[in-house]
């Protein structure tokens, strides 16, 4: 039995505690916005927040998760977009879109720690998130724009 809090909701899941969080989210809780890309924490498609920190859910045993989990579905939704999601739409970032939930969750973690990252800090934070469509340029632009929006909103 696993007890997890995901997007503010408590769940009890009947699954092996060794099972990576990714598959609990996707196959047991039906939260399919978090994607499988590699299974070895090498591409970032499965990135979620655990206790506010970006983690690769494909290698994190669900039994080790103590803090609250936030997935892309909890980060924002089509009716209530987050600043990052709005910037992603404004700057037309996504192509195939498969890596983008992971990119956005990684960026959310970055901006929570560092509200005004330099380009180099953005590059360092995002280098674990692979995009085979090569959308990096627009990802960077959208992060800068969202950071600006979020700083303004705080003033």
């Amino acid at each position: 039995m696993l007890e997890l809090t995901v997007n503010g909701q408590a769940h009890v899941v009947e699954a092996d505690p060794e099972m990576p969080l990714l598959w609990v989210l996707r196959d047991h809780l039906g939260l399919t916005g978090t994607k499988y890309g590699c299974g070895v924490a090498a591409c970032g498609a499965c990135t979620v927040l655990v206790g506010g920190e970006a983690v690769r859910s494909c290698t994190l045993p669900a039994g080790d998760v103590r803090d609250a989990v936030t997935t892309i579905e909890g980060h924002g939704n089509p009716e209530a977009l987050s600043a990052l999601q709005a910037a992603w739409i404004e700057h037309q970032v996504a192509q195939c879109g498969y890596c983008q939930p992971g990119q956005i969750m990684q960026a959310a973690s970055l901006l929570a720690d560092n509200p005004a990252p330099s380009d180099e800090e953005i590059d360092t934070a995002m280098r674990g998130n692979l995009c085979r469509c090569g959308t990096y340029q627009r990802v960077r632009t959208a992060i800068r724009a969202a950071a600006g929006e979020m700083r303004e909103a705080r003033l």
Partner: protein
């Protein structure tokens, strides 16, 4: 030959004959109305294969694979423009597999951007439409989607609009000439708005016009502008449904393992240990592997690791070196093609003094597509009807393969083509359809969501083939005077045709030499020959296909010959190329990059030009020496697409194609040992990341008389431009990819 193969062959021959001689037949065939495959539900009305209207508005059918290239939005805009729809209200669906959605541009010429089309063009287009239509080729590939749809879908929108106006005229008792359309409604002179939703039933009963009036470009509101893509909101909120995201009651999850030696049979299997894993439902044997079905994906993947199987030997040389020896052997065979044979290059080279003949050999490796989303599909068999969700670039063949795999007829299969997490040509194969169908058939009534592991995906691709080029040339003061360029590689088009139709048409293999024989260079004595290598490693369509290796060969060679002649590489191109749009992009990229100016110290720059899929593209790549290794810092691209229907998306595709090519050039390589692929996951087969991808600037020109697609042309010139930059920076000429074999990249 199988029954299907025989039928396909007969159909194909009819098509070939008609293309060769039957223009009149071609016109008849192309003008024959296509059956509308849409089966509207209650409350829905369809006016033609592209337009579906229900109480909440208009849905446009965009029958091409959305794999990231933004084609759904661009195709929908063609219809929305002519129907005067509000862009934010437009909904887009892929629609069913259907012959109505054949891709006529696969074999055809480009489409003139001028809306006024002559008879000559009509007949050429009609003839070109014929073979894909006869074969029912609903294919996304070859950068053809927009070229194919530009007229068809605008006409569909315009025809729908005219029938809606006729319905409104009848209802309001107003002369149709006094009506106009706006925002998804017909508007009367008094300002009364009749919504399309309310007119659709009446409109469906009206015979659509055969030659609807198309808007001249001066009236366009949507086309020619960067529109927000319709798919992005769902993709940034995690609500877009990829094939592996389908969730249904009583669902099971599966993964497959195929022979690690590609195409080799499974000799034995011991599944006892795997079956003992709690949650494992069933293991299904294939000829060349097995699938594990379990209560979740992780259990299936873990159990698959516990299956012990023995595999036959590979049907190809087991080591990379031996594979390349086999490829090189093809140079000793009669060429399959001499599609460029100007003057008498062989004689010129024979007559040249030995010291004056330039010689070089270039090599490129096998490459994986490595889509972000590994292969996946979801399927359920209920009452002998298979329902499948899968990302794919060839819906008819995909559906038929699924049906055949479990003894159903095509009519017993419903295929939903989902958005896909990258395609790049990998999803133009039907292997996944067969597996998903067989897994679903083993547990009737229960949906099965199949996900390949990344390792399975990396080691069971239809790879971009390894290829070798041998060049000999004589150079004069203006550059090359005589060139013999010979190319040897396994044939993608023959393997692909065999998989799709059961036979490979004879004749010259254009894909083998595209990017080498068809470039607009004027070289007095110029021979390009293609030599087909006999290697059974599965090869397939990798973004830009033959251009992906020949662009590298040709443009590295041109760079070398420029240096031999003591000419600037850009200057030499301008001396050899007369084609105005090609010169235009070369001059534009030189201007953008400040080509002639002094380089910052510690940097090198390379230039390359490739005209592919109708689009001339010139690129400059800048490479810098950092303490930690070489870094691609900046890149510039200029491309002529005739008409940029969505400039923002054209820019995105050019950059995407370049990053794809640069990633391969720096580090992409599939190798073999004991018949098995040695790269398993991203740590072994990586790509550029945010911190080492260059900042890229794109300039779009629109001078060409014909439209060009843009999904692929960004890729070919990126690789030689980088290799040429490496020479500029280091003075070392590297004629083999990937470059990180010889140089460290940061």
């Amino acid at each position: 030959m199988s029954r299907l193969g025989r039928i396909a062959r007969r159909t194909f021959l009819v098509g070939s004959v008609a293309i060769a001689g039957g223009v009149a037949f071609g016109i008849w065939q192309a003008r024959r109305p296509v059956a509308n495959p849409l089966r509207p539900a209650d409350g829905e009305v369809t006016l033609n294969p592209y337009v579906l209207i229900d109480a909440s508005g208009v849905t446009v059918i965009a029958p091409r694979a959305e794999m990231g290239q933004g084609i759904h939005s661009t195709l929908a805009a063609l219809v929305a423009e002519e129907m005067d729809l509000d862009w934010p209200a437009v909904r887009v669906l892929h629609g069913p597999p259907a012959r109505a959605y054949f891709n006529g541009a696969l074999l055809g010429p480009g489409v003139p951007v001028n809306a006024e089309r002559g008879v000559l063009h009509d007949t050429r287009q009609a003839a070109a439409d014929l073979a894909p239509r006869a074969l029912g080729l609903q294919i996304t590939g070859g950068s053809t989607s927009l070229v194919d749809a530009f007229d068809k879908m605008r006409r569909a929108g315009a025809a729908a609009r005219e029938t809606l106006m006729a319905a409104a005229a009848a209802r309001a008792g107003v002369d149709i000439a006094r009506l106009r359309t706006e925002g998804g409604a017909v508007v009367t002179p008094e300002g009364l708005r009749l919504r399309y939703e309310d007119l659709a039933q009446d409109a469906a009963a009206i015979e659509p016009p055969r030659a609807p009036r198309l808007k001249p470009p001066s009236e366009w509101r949507l086309l020619g502008r960067s529109l927000p893509r319709t798919d992005i909101p769902s993709k940034v909120t995690g609500t877009a449904q990829f094939a592996g995201d389908v969730r249904l009651p009583d669902m099971l999850y599966a993964t497959v393992r195929l022979s690690p030696r590609l195409g080799a049979a499974m000799r034995s299997i011991d599944m006892a240990e795997a079956l003992a894993v709690p949650g494992v439902e069933r293991i299904v044997e294939f000829e060349d592997g097995f699938g594990v079905i379990a209560r979740d994906t992780w259990t299936a993947m873990r159990a698959a690791d516990l299956v012990r199987a023995e595999w036959d030997r590979a049907p190809y040389p087991p080591q990379t070196d031996a594979i390349f020896e086999r490829i090189a052997l093809a140079f000793d065979s009669r060429p399959n093609s001499r599609l460029r044979n100007d003057g008498d290059a062989a004689a010129r080279l024979t007559a040249a003094p030995p010291g004056r003949v330039f010689e070089a050999e270039y090599r490129v490796p096998y490459l994986a597509h490595s889509t972000m989303e590994p292969m996946s599909a979801t399927a359920v068999l209920r009452d002998n009807h298979l329902e499948m969700w899968a990302g794919n670039q060839i819906p008819i063949a995909f559906r038929d393969a699924a049906a055949r795999a479990i003894g159903l007829s095509s009519g017993d299969v419903t295929l939903h083509t989902t958005v896909m997490g990258g395609g790049f040509g990998r999803r133009a194969e039907v292997d996944v359809a067969v597996q998903a169908a067989r897994l679903a058939a083993s547990v009737p009534g229960r949906p099965v969501c199949m996900t390949w592991t990344r390792e399975e995906d990396m080691t069971h691709d239809f790879y971009r083939p390894g290829a070798i080029a041998r060049a000999r040339a004589v150079v004069g003061p203006d550059g090359p005077e005589a060139v013999v360029l010979r190319i040897a590689a396994p044939s993608v088009s023959r393997q692909g045709a065999r998989r799709l139709m059961g036979f490979a048409p004879p004749g010259p293999d254009h894909m083998l030499v595209e990017g080498a024989h068809d470039q607009p260079y004027r070289i007095p004595d110029f021979l390009v020959s293609g030599h087909i290598a006999d290697v059974a490693v599965p090869v397939g369509y990798w973004r830009s296909v033959g251009y992906s290796h020949n662009g590298f060969f040709h443009e590295c060679l041109m760079d070398e010959l420029a240096r031999e002649a003591g000419l600037d590489p850009v200057e030499m191109r301008l001396r050899l190329i007369d084609d105005a749009p090609s010169r235009g992009v070369i001059e534009a990229v030189a201007d953008m990059s400040g080509w002639g100016a002094d380089r910052p110290s510690g940097t090198g720059r390379g230039f390359a030009f490739t005209r592919s899929f109708g689009a001339p593209m010139a690129q400059v790549v800048e490479l810098a020496e950092t303490g930690a290794g070489l870094r691609i810092t900046r890149a510039w691209a200029a491309v002529d697409v005739g008409l940029a229907i969505d400039p923002g998306n054209v820019e995105a595709q050019v950059i995407s194609g370049m990053i794809y090519g640069l990633s391969a050039a720096v580090m992409g390589e599939i190798t073999f040992a004991d018949g098995m692929v040695e790269q398993h996951n991203f740590p072994d087969y990586d790509a550029l990341r945010m911190d080492n991808a260059p900042e890229i600037a794109v300039r779009i020109l629109e001078t060409m008389p014909e439209l060009a697609g843009i999904g692929e042309p960004g890729t070919p010139p990126a690789m030689p431009a980088l290799a040429n930059a490496l020479y500029d920076l280091t003075g070392e000429r590297v004629r083999e990819l990937p470059l990180n074999r010889r140089f460290a990249f940061a």
